[in-house]
Point group: C2
């Protein structure tokens, strides 16, 4: 049976490799050396792509390209979001024009979040954290789906003639009018940047989780019908929740927010699920399983830049019987430092965010 | 079997009375005396309504109300369109705020007409003729579906959560994504006028042909879910084509355009299908059938204001054996006078149209 990826459902993809065979996503392996400065690439967290060669060509020949990403304004900005933010910053440094779509129409239609709430969350959580993490105003466009330019709405509506209901059903399963509106909105988000008056017909890359691939497939299909450049995409693994399962903004126990106060962050970290054994003796004898450890994952994704240091932690766990308690202390030192510094950067970033909001038109 | 009205199909409604029973449209009979100055009301051409009492109350108490109508910019403005234009002018005189929606997104999605062509047709054909017929700039809003204010697009998208696919299927039959976009666009056209920033929550009337009733039913249903005033509607009969069948802008032989040159108009009138008998003898003996005559219909709808004069023509046909040739001559005199005068008024109206286009935002 074909695995169907549902962008609006709970995602549990046991084996990312399946995506290569079933949906034609290609391995990112061949770009690892080229972009080894990026720890997400280096560590295989960005694991797949479609048509990323186009982007590499643009980078190498210093030609313009676009990176577009959407943010769904719901809940707190956590370490899962930070991973995406860092990819935005990476592309910005590589020379991309950055588009950030606040998916407030989608959050309204699919989750009933009011436009006012969405706007506040987008600014206070997402945009302020982006800036604090290092995104700059240069070549940056931020827009709200519910409040943009007429050319965008006109383009989006006209896209509705480019796919049939059966095509949509094959990709998304059960449909509702809202879902159909959301789908074409997503397609317009990705493709409108290629129109005149925006960035024009240049390569575009969309960094997504594999659950978003249906949108990418449909968008690439529609792009070819419109004589636009088929957008490229990269695929990253999801972070695991602190208790296992999915890291989700709607479940505070599953994540640490970047604005979390330190006692709460410490408590969550200390209570996180690890790859430790049932008893101290077993741990000493067998070693832990870092691959199943939310604490180790936090260090892999975010807190340890140096691969050697990371490998050291890994080996201490598997061979030297490092206890989970000791390891969490090491991790907490790093986390505490990051959160403290980040929260200062957030304060400094608030004025820049006001500017961001001003530049909301392309 | 339930009769389904299809707003995008060819319409042939044999018995308008059926609509009263099957769809709950009410007879306009009770308003005939109240609005006898309007020949479309007086002659039963406006034959039905939903909730028109709300509009009468507004008129009687001099409270604000809105009339909204859409124009589909395709082809020439003909006498069928003139009937709608006169209803707009009637409501404007009665005190209504008038909204004219240029349905250029619908004409693009459903008929493939480019936005540029649609704009040109809307201005040169529809708007210029409206002005020449007597519509004034007072309380008038003209907008294009593809080029309006963000509040409209936001409202329209948010409407997509207010009906299910099954509800839409029950009303419209087979669906496509474009049709779904068109449907919610129509609903937004009618309801957005009640939002703050437009005309606010006031009664709204939409004069339509019975084929448009599906939109009215859906719109009234959605209005009730949004705590807006359910819009009222009036229903008019369609004009018959000059050769029988439907009067249509896409078939030049079926209509006389208001910009038609006189020789062509005369030729079409002289070749029009009448209610005459096969031979002159039969005509003398039995009389003609004005109810089946496109020429008589033109006089009923447009060219003869005086009921007594009209009755005279009717009786000459049925009892005095007036020949179709003679009758057409009478009709041509009236038509020639109207077209000549109208084409002068059109020239004078061109500047007013430029102003109309300027006032395109609410």
């Amino acid at each position: 049976m074909t695995q169907r990826l549902d962008p609006w459902g709970q995602v549990k993809i046991e084996d990312y490799r399946k995506l290569f065979d079933e949906f034609g996503i290609e391995s990112f392996e061949k770009f690892k050396n080229r972009f080894s400065e990026n720890r997400y690439v280096r560590r295989g967290i960005v694991f797949g792509h479609r048509d990323f060669d186009k982007i590499v060509s643009a980078i190498d020949s210093k030609k313009p390209y676009v990176m577009i990403t959407g943010l769904m304004p719901s809940g707190k900005f956590h370490f899962g979001h930070k991973m995406v933010a860092e990819q935005m910053i990476w592309h910005q440094k590589l020379g991309a024009e950055i588009y950030v779509c606040v998916a407030d129409m989608e959050s309204y239609l699919m989750r009933g979040i009011s436009f006012e709430d969405a706007r506040k969350i987008a600014v206070d959580e997402y945009l302020t954290n982006y800036i604090a993490l290092g995104l700059t105003e240069k070549n940056l466009h931020v827009y709200f789906q519910s409040d943009y330019v007429v050319a965008y709405y006109r383009f989006r509506d006209s896209l509705s003639g480019k796919a049939t209901l059966n095509e949509l059903k094959a990709i998304y399963g059960e449909l509702t009018p809202s879902k159909i509106f959301s789908v074409f909105t997503q397609v317009a988000d990705i493709l409108h940047v290629q129109l005149g008056g925006f960035s024009g017909k240049v390569p575009t890359v969309v960094p997504v989780g594999p659950d978003q691939d249906p949108h990418i497939r449909l968008t690439r299909d529609i792009a070819s019908k419109l004589d636009l450049i088929q957008p490229s995409s990269t695929y990253h693994k999801f972070m695991t929740g602190l208790q296992g399962g999915k890291m989700s903004s709607s479940d505070p126990k599953s994540h640490i927010a970047l604005t979390e106060d330190l006692p709460s962050a410490k408590k969550k970290l200390m209570g996180a699920k690890t790859g430790g054994r049932a008893t101290a003796e077993e741990q000493k004898k067998l070693g832990g399983v870092p691959e199943e450890c939310a604490v180790y994952e936090l260090m892999v994704y975010h807190l340890v830049e140096d691969d050697k240091e990371l490998l050291g932690i890994h080996d201490s766990c598997t061979s030297e019987g490092l206890s989970c308690g000791e390891c969490k202390k090491v991790c907490w030192e790093k986390l505490e430092k990051f959160l403290t510094e980040h929260q200062v950067r957030r304060q400094n970033g608030k004025k820049a965010v006001e500017n961001l909001i001003r530049i909301i038109q392309p």
